[in-house]
């Protein structure tokens, strides 16, 4: 009974991408990073779904949208376990997982209050120095922002 309900809560799509295993608390960060609030395609969100791995997870179904690796990997900072299902004709034709990229532009805020990026109108840039427990080295002030202090801009 419960299973059926979960499946029904997010309707199927004909063509597009399903992003699964997003931590529920980061759903809105993912929406923001991918700019989903600015597109006209049909998008279905589900959140607070039960997940053994994540506690509560969120899922996004995007009709008619396919991502380039570089674009989708940007969400790895907030959804490192996210899985992608590429859908064609209601069938999953490809599965993949997001990968934390080597460099990050925009997205995150530098944790250092004395960093120029927190004073001047400039896009943040980071080198990813650790991918497991994400650690970002600021291109400007050279300080490390770790997972715990990660704030999405």
């Amino acid at each position: 009974m419960k299973e059926t309900k979960k499946q029904l809560s997010v309707s199927a799509i004909e063509n597009g991408t399903v992003i699964d295993h997003i931590p529920a608390s980061n759903l809105f960060n993912v929406i923001q990073i991918l700019g989903l609030d600015k597109i006209d395609n049909l998008i279905t969100f589900g959140t607070n779904l039960e997940s053994k791995k994540l506690g509560r997870k969120a899922i996004i179904k995007l009709a008619g949208i396919y991502f380039e690796d570089d674009d989708i990997n940007r969400i790895a900072l907030v959804a490192p376990e996210a899985k992608l299902n590429i859908i064609k004709d209601y069938e999953v034709v490809e599965k993949s997982i997001v990968k934390v990229p080597d460099n990050i532009a925009g997205i995150a805020k530098c944790v250092n209050p004395k960093c120029i990026t927190n004073f001047e109108d400039v896009k943040t840039k980071f080198k990813v120095v650790s991918k497991k427990n994400v650690a970002l080295k600021c291109h400007y002030c050279e300080k490390i922002t770790d997972q715990e202090h990660l704030v999405i801009v």
Binding site: C110, K114, I116, F119, E120, D121, C138, H139, C141, K143
Partner: protein, 302 residues
């Protein structure tokens, strides 16, 4: 170097470093060449730093260059709220190279991305001050004959000291052994120790001066500032512990030299000044030659 600017010491390859040190040696022999005769150099000091500014201006003047700029932000448009972007875009029309000091970390990197002319970082907050590191390397090489296999003692505020961190990072390229002498509250941060571990370099930590300094090739002193302590009582306890006196130097090695980025307060007793092992004033003079080398290299003149 990144985009012909000097922003961070980590941007310079070991080869380039050595080449700049060699060039500085040429300037030491002949500091008065008219290489900057038709050049205008901007010195933008968004916060005052008299010593660094005078050293740069001396380096430029001895090479015949003209200087424009300001000596602290209160005398500039910055206090009227002008962005760094606008200041740099404007000043790079008036000059062939910009020397800048700024209290905000990463400001020099940003300036180097905005500017058409080379930027020399003369200190960006607690982050980088690469010309200081270069003059420290020059002083060490000059007094020791080489940078290889030295035993370097870093003393004082090793937690917040930008100078000692950059020096550690730079010297770790030459199989250096490090000794750290500092109060508990101001110990070398763990990230630098991990870095040395990774390179397999030896380091030792001490809470006080002892006979161990007799093994030193270089004793690099820094100021222990009261405002760094969360508990003022802690400062009172340690403030006289990290003072170097002449009597402590009697059994140190012949080649040993005492360095300090200056200004000092009381951490080197004035009775050390007459000892030939004191080197901090010569070190400051070396800053002029090193900066001459960096400026002419970035301008493609040398």
């Amino acid at each position: 170097m990144n985009n012909k600017s000097l922003v961070s010491i980590d941007d310079i390859s070991t080869e380039e470093m050595v080449s700049i040190l060699d060039l500085a040696k040429e300037f030491e022999k002949d500091p008065g060449q008219n290489l900057l005769g038709n050049k205008v150099i901007a010195t933008l000091f968004f916060e005052p730093s008299t010593r660094t500014r005078l050293s740069f201006e001396s380096a430029i003047s001895r090479l015949g260059g003209k200087i424009v700029g300001f000596t602290d932000a209160s005398s500039s448009s910055v206090t009227k709220g002008e962005s760094l972007y606008d200041t740099i875009r404007t000043v790079n029309n008036y000059s062939d190279l910009i020397v800048m000091r700024h209290p905000i970390e990463g400001s020099a990197r940003l300036a180097s991305e905005i500017s058409d002319v080379p930027i020399v970082n003369a200190g960006d907050g607690a982050n980088q001050h690469p010309t200081q590191t270069m003059l420290d390397l020059y002083s060490i090489r000059k007094t020791q004959g080489s940078l290889d296999n030295l035993n370097i003692f870093l003393v004082g505020d090793l937690k917040y000291g930008r100078t000692v961190h950059s020096l550690l990072m730079a010297m770790s390229r030459w199989n250096t052994t490090f000794n750290f002498i500092s109060p508990e509250e101001l110990k070398m941060p763990v990230e630098y120790k991990l870095y040395l571990d990774k390179l397999g370099l030896k380091y030792y930590e001490h809470s006080d001066f002892s006979d161990i300094i007799n093994e030193a090739d270089i004793i690099y002193m820094t100021r222990v500032q009261k405002e760094r302590f969360s508990d003022p009582m802690e400062y009172e306890k340690v403030k006289n512990v990290y003072v170097l006196r002449n009597s402590m130097l009697s059994n140190t090695k012949e080649n040993m030299r005492v360095l300090h980025p200056l200004p000092r307060v009381n951490e080197i007793h004035t009775d050390v000044d007459a000892n030939k092992k004191s080197y901090y004033f010569e070190q400051a003079l070396n800053g002029v030659f090193t900066r001459q080398a960096i400026l002419t290299r970035l301008l493609g003149l040398k």
